[in-house]
Structures are given as C-alpha cells and as structure tokens.
Symmetry: C2
Subunit: 185 residues, 2 copies
DNA sequence: TCGATAGTACACTGATCTGTGAAGTCGGGA
DNA sequence: TCCCGACTTCACAGATCAGTGTACTATCGA
C-alpha cells in the first residue's frame, strides 16, 4: 500500500519529500520553514503547496515516509536474521539515525509537535507497530512470557534510541542490544 | 550554588522564568516567542532582555532551573526512601512531568535544539548526573555488578520517560519501575 | 491537435520573529 | 537629597513565517 502511494508521487513531490526529510530531521520541524525546503528541493514554493497543501500535511507525509522506510529496512533485515529476531529492531534504529547523530526522527517529532498535530498520531502508530511486531517475534521465537519480555525489550530499545540523539553515537544502542540479547537467551 | 543563584534573581526575572518554564515545556522551545513569554509573565519584553540578554540564554536558564528543581525533588525523596533507593528516579520523573503529559523536559529540549545550542549541554549534563547518581546508589545499596545494572536501569528509566510524552500518561513509567525493581532485588 | 497535468516565476499579504533605542517612573539606601 | 537599580512604555528594525494569486511554459497521452 505504501509502495503504491509512493509510486503516485510526482518528481517534484519526491524531491520535496527528500529535502523535507533531511531538513526536518537535522534541524527540527518547527525550525525549518517551507521556503527553505522549497529552495533545497530545487522546486518553487508554489509547487510545494500544489502538492502538499500545507506545512502540516507535509510534516505528516515526512513522518509517513520515514515510517515506510523504517519498515522496509526492518523487513529486509528480518528475512535472514538469526534468532532472536527481535534484536533486529536495534539494528534498524541504528541504521535509521546513522550517521547524523540526531537520534530517532519519531521521538524528536513527538517532542516538538503538539499532541493535536496530525503528525503526532503517525508517531504513536509507528511506535505501537514496533511494539506489536516485537511482541509477535518474541512469541514466535519461543519465550516464556512474551508480553513482559517484549515490554522490557521495548523499553531498553527506546531508552537507547532516545539517547542516541544526545550522545551523538550508537554506543548506548549497542549496550542495550547486548542487554536485550541476555534477556532473550 | 544553584540556591545562591536563585536568590540573586529579581522579582521580574523569577516571573519570566516561571512563565518560560511553563510555556517552553508545554509548547516547545522553538514554537514559543519571547513576546509570548513577556506577556504571560506580566513583564515587558525590555525587562526580559535586560535580565537574560537573549532567548538562547533564557533557554539555558530554563533548563538549569528545571534541573535544580529536579535535583531538589530527588534529594527530598532520597532522604527516607526504602531500598533500593535507585527506584526514586522513576518517581522523580513521574512527578516532574505530571500532570501535563508532555514527558521529559530535557529529552524534549534535546530533540528540538541543535547540538551546538548552549542548552544542549545542560541536558547532557543533567542526564549524565542522573546516570552517575544511579550508579552510586546501586553500588551503595549493594549490588554485584553496579555498572551493568545501573546502565540497565537507566535505559529502562529513559525508555519509559521518553514515551511518557507520547502516551500522555505515566503508565509505562510504572511498568519500567516494576521491571527495575525486579532487577535490583 | 487538444486538453490535462506538472511545474516555473514572482510579487504580495499579514503576521510573527528576535532584538534595540530612548525616555520615563518608582522605591530604597547612602 | 541624590542616585541607582528595576521596571515600564512604545516605537522601530530587519528578517522570516505560512500561504496565495496570476500568468506563463513544457510535456505527454488520447
């Protein structure tokens, strides 16, 4: 579905999305104006508004875009991952942030957007899906109490991911992965 | 030291700091202008600039102010806390965010500030101090491998705290506290 | 060849942003 | 009495904010 959505996007829209993705992530959503995005994507502001309608809608598209990418990466990894496969989530987030040092785009967005913003729901859904998949994988790979363990692993993951943007490195993510591996063995 | 600093502040500066603390936390740092802060504190913009010099400096004062409050709360709790005392950190963060649902002010600030912003270092120092104290408490309260356990507890804490702002509740913080208690027993 | 779609160029609105300059008010301490 | 520090009032600068209106061009499929 998300693939089809992406196919429908015009060349201009794709350039805008690419620039927005880079700028929103690096400098923050509120801090980046639509003019800046238009200039960086080599497209006029008029085109940006013709394609997306408003800055808020562009923000939603940006988050959805990153969510789709994240999922694609997760699926690619999961295909031939060793057990316990839940650990691939740590790799997916490490790859998502690398090498900017700005941490998790979703947590960052949630931190600066008001809860009423339509993009906020995208973040919530993304994290909910991560939690669900984690739970499913842990259950499938055979664990005594998948619910409790999944929540535990999720917290380790998110704690590390939150600090990726503060440390500017993936070191803590590696530590968290090790601790999660211990839990899952 | 921070107490002395606070004594020096004039009435106007205190009102500004109170308003800034509320507004920056609720709506985000970039999203709130100095005019808004001036109006909400019942003080002119001129006074604001006379006291703090710039918005960036006010942001630093805001974060330092929250850090001082956080520490005061922590110390008040730790005095007669049952063992393992490391668990008080979970209560301190729950109280810090309550009842706004906006989560951790420090993580939120780090998410929207550029790493070059002087306020970013305040966040980093705050989290480093939390980590250090956690480690010290866990060591004092007698644990086999304080370093590994402290890091584990810290990750649980931060994962929960990061999602406090997304869930809009302290439920996950309570779960994390329970898991940490298990670890420390 | 026609018409739709995608995009450019560019001026413009009205609001808001951080920050400053200059002059004046007021109370408390030396 | 005189002065200083805290604060007000208000106008202003120059930039940037999101978003719009209008007119034009290039491409492509039916």
């Amino acid at each position: 579905m998300s693939e089809e959505n992406r196919q429908k996007l015009t060349v201009g829209a794709l350039k805008i999305l690419a620039a927005a993705s880079e700028l929103f992530y690096q400098r923050g959503i509120t801090a980046v104006g639509v003019d800046t995005i238009a200039v960086h994507s080599g497209v006029t502001k008029r085109t940006l508004y013709d394609r997306f309608g408003s800055k808020d809608a562009l923000v939603v598209a940006y988050l959805q875009h990153r969510h789709d990418d994240w999922w694609a990466r997760w699926h690619a990894r999961i295909a031939d991952a060793p057990r316990p496969r839940a650990l691939t989530a740590f790799d997916s987030y490490a790859e998502d942030a690398h090498p900017s040092g700005r941490g998790c785009a979703f947590l960052n967005a949630a931190a600066e957007l008001p809860p009423s913003h339509p993009g906020f729901a995208v973040v919530r859904d993304h994290k909910q899906e991560v939690r669900d998949r984690l739970h499913a994988l842990i259950a499938e790979d055979g664990n005594g109490a998948p619910s409790a363990v999944a929540e535990h692993v999720f917290l380790l993951l998110e704690g590390a991911v939150a600090h990726q943007g503060i440390d500017g490195s993936g070191a803590r993510l590696a530590t968290a992965r090790r601790l999660a591996a211990q839990l899952l063995s």
